[in-house]
């Protein structure tokens, strides 16, 4: 037994099969790296935590928090919006959401839900950026069903080994055009020209960048629906807002009130960036893919999931840095998340009150011109609420920042309410 373990330590990278840029099937990679593959497959397992985890049938967020439905009124998210779950489901869940089955969506969606580089290369005739742009502009189903020259479908797997690893040497790398463009714009705004993470980032940075490929806020720019990460002025909530404002952008017009609304999507990377862990160099992978010892080997846990799933996951993710018992660590997260959750609900009530007031103002005869400043406040308020509520850590990734954002949201919503009340009262 000890003998076996000593052996194991010696030969971790014995390759049984060749893998290449075209190998999107994780099973093939799994022959070389069975431990990582076995864990990877477990992203299909159900887990449960207080505010996170994943279930066999993901809960409808719209039912748990009915205010979401009203906040998204007139937008696809008001039809079907569920809890996230493990990576194994990403392609399936996108194919089956009513946001896709009931509304037209662009090929841009696929960027983060499939192992997609072969498709980009195919469409761009070898040029990934070109292919990316073309695919973004296609209708979803068309892009999804494209086949390679031998007639095999190009989109078949959720995120796979090749999306984060260089098949030559297993080094971490970033493959997603959206991220490459986004991080370049961000660094440029900080005075660093032509940043290329695959060349310029440290290994520790890469341990977050691979996740930042997808766990980010985005929008579809222009008629060609080019997937864009709005980081040109920075990653903070108001910096992104300033970018949208300057571009005169809105995601949709709020059906009930007419506000020019924005949708925030899973800004984990952005929020984490404002937190103390990021500042201390703690990467996504440190917590979501902690090292696990298998015999004499230490490997990264490829069952990517919430660190709070059980005591074991807490001990592996947090205890290398925090010398407290599992129960204590859980309580600490809980305190943060509960505070955040209560403040989020408070902000949501404020927003609902504002909408009620707008409704009364309209009934009282307020004109669109009268309402414009009120609706501008609604845009600001719900952008912030959404930024916190669609971020998936319930405040943990940056507790003070999330609370600050919610404080601002409350301010804008209630200011809007007061203004609308005034309107309702002054119109005869």
């Amino acid at each position: 037994n000890i003998f076996e373990r000593k052996q194991e330590a010696k030969d971790p990278y014995l390759k049984l099969v060749q893998v290449s840029e075209e190998t999107t099937d994780p099973e093939t990679w799994g022959m070389n790296w069975p431990r990582q593959f076995d864990a990877y497959k477990r992203t299909a397992d159900a887990t449960r935590t207080k505010f996170g985890g994943s279930e066999a049938m993901p809960a409808q967020k719209l039912e748990r928090d009915p205010w979401l439905k009203r906040m998204y009124d007139g937008y696809a998210f008001s039809i079907d919006y569920r809890d996230r779950r493990g990576h194994a489901y990403m392609l399936f869940d996108q194919e089956h959401t009513e946001r896709v089955t009931k509304k037209p969506q662009p090929g841009a969606c696929l960027h983060c839900h499939a192992s997609i580089l072969p498709l980009y290369r195919h469409v761009g005739s070898g040029d990934v950026m070109k292919g990316f742009e073309e695919v973004c502009a296609m209708p979803y189903q068309q892009a999804h069903d494209l086949k390679d020259d031998s007639g095999k479908p190009l989109v078949r797997h959720p995120v796979s080994c090749v999306d984060c690893h260089d098949p030559k040497n297993m080094e971490l790398r970033v493959t997603r055009p959206g991220f490459l463009n986004g991080i370049r714009a961000l660094k440029a705004s900080q005075g660093i020209e032509d940043f290329d993470p695959n060349r310029d980032a440290t290994r520790q940075e890469m341990r977050s960048y691979v996740c930042g490929q997808c766990h980010v806020e985005y929008y579809f720019k222009g008629d060609r629906k080019t997937l864009t990460y709005p980081w040109h002025k920075g990653l903070k909530v108001e910096e992104i807002e300033a970018y949208y404002d300057e571009a005169g952008y809105k995601d949709w017009t709020h059906a009930e009130t007419g506000a020019p609304a924005l949708k925030a999507q899973h800004p984990e990377f952005e929020m984490w960036n404002q937190g103390i862990h990021s500042r201390s160099g703690v990467a996504c992978a440190d917590c979501h893919m902690p090292y696990v010892r298998q015999g004499a080997l230490k490997i990264s846990d490829h069952w990517i999931r919430s660190p709070l799933v059980n005591d074991e996951s807490i001990s592996r993710a947090c205890q290398p840095c925090h010398r407290y018992p599992e129960a204590e660590i859980r309580t600490r997260v809980d305190l943060i998340q509960e505070r955040n959750h209560a403040l989020l609900q408070r902000a949501a009530s404020a927003l609902m009150d504002q909408m009620d007031a707008v409704r009364s103002a309209k009934a009282g005869g307020a004109t669109p011109a009268d309402l414009a400043p009120v609706l501008e406040l609604q845009r600001k308020a719900q952008w912030r609420i959404d930024f916190v509520s669609s971020e998936n850590s319930m405040g943990f990734h940056a507790p003070q920042e999330a609370a600050r954002i919610l404080g601002e949201a409350i301010d804008f919503a209630r200011q809007g309410q007061a203004k609308a009340v005034m309107l309702a009262a002054t119109k005869p």
Partner: protein
């Protein structure tokens, strides 16, 4: 300031070995893992178990690398206590190593944390005299590692 260690009388040596190992998992396991050198004060003895590699590496990077070795901090320096602790820890270690059922990351046990504290004070007693002075009379005294968590193994975060 560093002390030399009492030479090991063979009777105690055997007693410690028997207690530790018989209660542990058996001679082969322990022998293979170079368990015999476990009773030396050479840090390499601890590194015989790969599971101790991390502690070893981090100790090498710590400020005490030149000042104190594993046993200086982790074993009591009373004569008999030292070998009893070796026996008890030896039991935990070989048992843990063989069954692989210990908690990870490895965490110092309360009892051993007490030994550690005593060792800090053993070497730094003069410096911290005032701090320890009022600590001795009240329970829950301030532990050195509360602030100096990284003296033995470099930065912890």
């Amino acid at each position: 300031m560093r002390r030399s260690y009492p030479r090991l009388p063979s009777s105690l040596w055997v007693a410690a070995l028997l207690v530790g190992i018989a209660a542990g998992v058996g001679f082969f396991t322990f022998g293979y893992a170079e368990g015999l050198s476990y009773f030396s004060k050479d840090p390499a003895a601890c590194r015989n178990c790969h599971i101790m590699n991390e502690s070893f590496d981090s100790w090498q990077k710590s400020g005490h690398h030149g000042a104190a070795a594993c046993v200086d901090c982790h074993l009591p320096h009373g004569f008999v206590e030292k070998y009893l602790a070796k026996a008890e820890n030896g039991y935990h270690h070989s048992r843990g190593f063989t069954f692989q059922d210990f908690h990870e990351p490895i965490r110092i046990k309360e009892k051993n944390a007490g030994i550690l504290q005593e060792n800090c004070v053993r070497c730094h007693g003069e410096l911290v005299h005032d701090l320890v002075a009022s600590a001795s009379t009240r329970t829950g005294g301030v532990r050195c590692v509360h602030c100096h968590a990284d003296v033995g193994h470099g930065p912890v975060r």
